[in-house]
Structures are given as C-alpha cells and as structure tokens.
Symmetry: C2
Subunit: 339 residues, 2 copies
C-alpha cells in the first residue's frame, strides 16, 4: 500500500509532515511518497536520516488563506501545487490514499473535482471523530457543505454508518440527527424531511437510526454517528474546541491560585494530562473526506509529526476496510426521488 | 413594580417557584403576583410563612411536552393555563413583567400572540447570556426561530446590543456573527447577506460589528453578543452544556481515581465549586425574550428557588432599563427593504 502525503500542507510543513511520514513508513509498514518542493522535503528527510521515501516535486503551495477554488481554477496551483499534484497522483492510481494538512476548503474542492465523488453521492462530507463513549462519535458533515438537502443528510448517515462499523468498531452504529430537541417532530422542514428518510431506512433495516440528538447528547455516549448540515456541524465542532479551551483556562486559574492549590494540582498533573489528551481531536488522526471515490484524509492544519503519523495510520485502515466499496454497493438506497 | 410569576411552570413547580418568589419579594423590593392552582400555590406560600403575595387562580398547566401552539389554540389552555393567564395579565397592564419556567415553545408562542411583538420586529429571540470574558456573552437567537432571514439577524444584533449595553454593562457591545470562519466572505447566502447588513450598520455608527465569529471564539471574551439563527444557536448552547458535563465527568474520574488523587482533589474542592458555578447558565437568571412588547423572562425548566430569584432580579432590571423603548425608538434602522 502506498500513501501519498502533501508535504507542504499545514502550519508546520514540511518539517513535521516529513517527520510524521518517516515514522509512519518505519512503524506501519506502508510505502510513502511525499509531494512538495523537492529540495526542502529532501533536506527534512536527510535530517531524519531517511533515504527510502521518494519525493515528487511540486513547486507551488496552496496557502491557508487562498481561495479554495484556486486548486481547480488558478493555472499554477491547479497544475503545480503539492495538494493538486498529490490528488492527481491518487486519481491516476499512483497511490492508495492522500493525506494533507493543508487548507480544508481547497482539499474538499480538489478531491471533489480531481479525484471526484463516488457515483451517486451528491456531496462529500468532512467527518471527524470526537471523544465520547467507548468508540468516540462521528460528526458528519462538519464543514464541507454550508447548505444541505435531506438527501445529502441521508447519504451522510449511510456513509457514517459504514465508517463507524468498520473503523470505529461499532457493531450496529447508532445514528442521531442533530436537532433542537429529541422529539420526533422537532426542527424545520429540512430536519423533518430528513427524519422521515432516516426513519424509513431504519424500518427497512438498512441503518440504525435512534432519533434526534441535541447538542447536550452528542457527548453522552448514546450515539456513534451524528448527522448534520456542514454549517451547524462546523459550529458544533468549533464550539466544542472553544469550551474545552475555556474550561482548561478556568482550571489553570484554580490550580495556580495559591501554593496549596499548586501542590494539589501537581499530584493530579499526570492524570489530567491523560484526560486532556483523550479529549484532543487530533489524537484520532485526521478527518476522512467521505463520499470521494478514493481515500482522502484531512489532517488538522496545526498537525505535528504525531498527528501526521495518526492520519497515515487512519488512511491505511481506511484503505484496508474498503468503505468506499460499501458505499458504492449501497448507493441505490441513498437516492431520493421526489418525496 | 409588579412581577407576574407563572407558579406552575417548570420541573419543580410550584414549590421552588413559590420559594424563589418569596425570596424575591423580601429581598428585591418588588411586588409579586403568582398565577396557578390557588390551593396548591397558597399551601406553598403558607410553608414559607408568606401572606403578602396574592395568587391569581388558573386551573390548567401547559405541560413540557404539550404542543407549543396549545397556548393559543387549545380552548382550555388558552384561557385557563397559568402561563396564558400570566401573559394576558401582562398584556392588560396588571403587572410589569412575566417570569415563567414553563415550556419554552409555549412561552415564545404565547408571548408572540398574546403580548405581541414590538411593532416592526419580525421575530422574538431567545437570548441567554453565557459565561465568557468580563461580562459574559449573549447568544441571540438560541431557539425561537429555526429558520431566519438576514433581516431577523440584523434585528437580533440591534436588540442584543441594547441589552448588552444596559444589562451587561458593555459600553460599546462587540457584535459577532456566528459563522464557519472569521474571514468576511465565509458562509452561505444568509451569512453573507447578514454580514453586509451588519457592516453597513457598523459603518453608520449604529452598532459595533466586529465581524464573523467561530464556535471557538464564542468563549474567547472577544465578543459581547453573538448573532445566530435559532437552530444553530440552540445547538451551540446545548453543545456547550454537553461539553461542560462531559469534562466534569472526566474530571471526576481523575479525582476519584485513587486515594492520592482524592486527597489532592479535596484541597481544590471549594475553588472548583466556584469555577463550576461560574459556568452555570442558570446563575445569570433567565433568558430574555427580546422583541416582545413587554418584558418576558424564561427561566430554565429545571429552575430551583435560586434560579427563580435570579430571573425575577433580571426581570426587575429589564423593566428599569427600559430596553423595549430603545428598540422601539430605533426600529427604523432595523428594517430592510429589498437589498
């Protein structure tokens, strides 16, 4: 198996990306190919005393603040950026998956137009796994699609279900529809229409839809997959980050308040560190871009070597599980006529 | 000043409602009138040795799981429920504000159709104040309106600004538009249209719009008012509750892990308790229903006496500030023609 890594994507490229790639190559038994400015990437590889990872030269970089569509519209970025080159290699079968910590918007756009969607899938979805319960909880979509139809959300539910079963180890993934109340009738037109579609699929034994989920319930351990439009999902994801940060700051205030507290906090330090790590989204790896015809994994923009390693591990598992085949084989269940 | 309290609303009615009302009467120097099943409410008053709070009899109760429109459609609930009677008293000038811990949906519906909106205001908004920064941060709307137009959101911004200035002590309230990125161009049609309206109002010196806000930024202390559609705002609010609960559970796990940790946690207990309280939404009081022509305060459904006391204190301040007059006088700025 060969994983194609965009060596220039993210805040810590190329150093940390290369470090993570080298670690993955050594520990995961996968082939790696790095894409980026050859001399820069090779210098990093040399620092790691690594001589068995090939580098494909790409002179351009998609910057975090570039307009996402540059990857398909800008003449240079379209043909010479590390991200576009990596995605084109994936399309052409020169590797089995792409990992990039670059611009989310550009990666979604590039994956959609270069690698292309699975036939029948309307929109790809960003689907990170958040800490909760035994397996974590997948949030799909969390930002690829600002506005959604009920059909998109039905497809997200199926795709999330396949992922949760194969990648998260959930036997019968419990799917919740993000809503403003748990009662069946909650929400406006979009949620009610989606609710009806999910209920129907559940009654036909195709997915395990357990009903509407509120924000309070996302982390309860009662759901394995939370289905949402990308706007709301993105707000949920970032609010979670914001609240965690806020509480950690408050806790720090308590711990450093006086000598007595400082001493007590020192005793707890190690266990609190483990707890903090368990709530770190980056630990899971990256975010799968579900609905694309080949595996594309988005690593966090601030990824360090450990995150890239985790994202490659995720990419490897994703390829092995062949979730894309599951989606392709069930595509007829995910289509909605006029309802 | 006279505050009308729905004695039958919420999980702990009427006991805790009456207790909170008695405390408010004694400590805040306001007149109170309780509305509910006379014999039940009077028994509670007797338990508190209180004889100077009048009770208006109302035989029906709007239940938490009743359809919200029952308050204007169901023959009995419309004329005899404690919530409807309280709102009708407010409409008829028999008091200055209503406080209710009953069904949010019914209260929004009842306030809208019985007390009615301020002339020119399209939709009322639920607007709780969350813990953040020096003054807290107001989230408007958090559930009254599933689907919004740019004009609604512009009106929410103005109303939130007046509230933050007079009730939260912010001199020049910083208004953020909840979005999926801070860049000016983020979001779909609704956010972009709203961004343009808010920017224009800012340039005209009418509000202090500081730009788009992400979920991560809500608790940063960089915003005093966060403007959102009700669906996303509700998810944000409930996610915040869910994450706080999740982290507190995780922390508990650390504190009780072993004897060593237990001893250390005991030292921190008091300060952690203060911290936890500072993050409790209920501590602020209730949630103002902005846009209604007279003051209506929604207390949390699980309100105890302290919450009801805080909600009455908030109602009193709301009446004294006369934010409704501010809104009425500026209504022409909040109207949007074809844009």
């Amino acid at each position: 198996m060969k994983i194609i890594i965009d060596a220039m994507g993210g805040d810590n490229a190329p150093e940390e990306i290369v470090k993570g790639a080298v670690k993955a190559k050594r520990e995961l038994g996968v082939d790696i190919v790095l894409v980026g400015r050859k001399e820069d990437v090779e210098a990093c590889l040399k620092n790691e005393s690594c001589s068995d990872i090939p580098v494909v030269d790409a002179r351009e970089v998609v910057a975090m603040d570039d307009n996402p569509v540059c990857i398909v519209r800008d003449k240079k970025k379209k043909s010479e950026s590390s991200m576009a080159v990596a995605l084109n290699m994936l399309k052409d079968g020169e590797g089995d998956a792409v990992v990039s910590a670059g611009s989310t918007g550009a990666l979604v756009t590039g994956a959609t137009f270069i690698v292309q969607r699975i036939k029948g899938i309307r929109r790809p979805a960003l689907s990170p796994v958040l800490p909760a319960g035994e397996h974590g909880v997948m949030l799909i979509d969390c930002g690829a699609n600002d506005t959604c139809t009920a059909e998109y959300l039905l497809q997200f539910a199926y795709m999330g279900s396949f992922y949760a079963k194969k990648m998260m180890g959930c036997e019968n993934p419990r799917i919740g529809l993000l809503n403003i109340g748990t009662e069946d009738t909650k929400g406006g037109e979009l949620r009610q229409e989606t609710f009806a579609l999910l209920k129907k699929a559940h009654e036909e034994g195709k997915i395990n839809f357990v009903g509407n989920a509120e924000g309070t319930g996302v982390f309860s351990g009662n759901y394995d997959v939370i289905v949402s439009d990308g706007f709301t999902g993105n707000v949920l994801l970032k609010t979670t980050e914001g609240v965690i940060k806020y509480i950690m700051t408050q806790l720090k205030g308590v711990f450093f308040k006086n000598v007595k507290n400082k001493l007590a906090a020192a005793v707890l330090k190690k266990d609190l560190g483990i707890m903090k790590k368990s709530m770190d989204v980056n630990e899971v790896g990256g975010t799968a871009l579900l609905g694309i015809s080949k595996p594309v994994i988005k690593a966090h923009g601030s990824s360090n070597a450990a995150c890239i390693f985790a994202a490659v591990r995720q990419a490897k598992a994703f390829v092995e599980c062949n979730i894309i085949k599951d989606i392709e084989e069930n595509i007829d269940n995910m289509k909605v006529g006029k309802i």
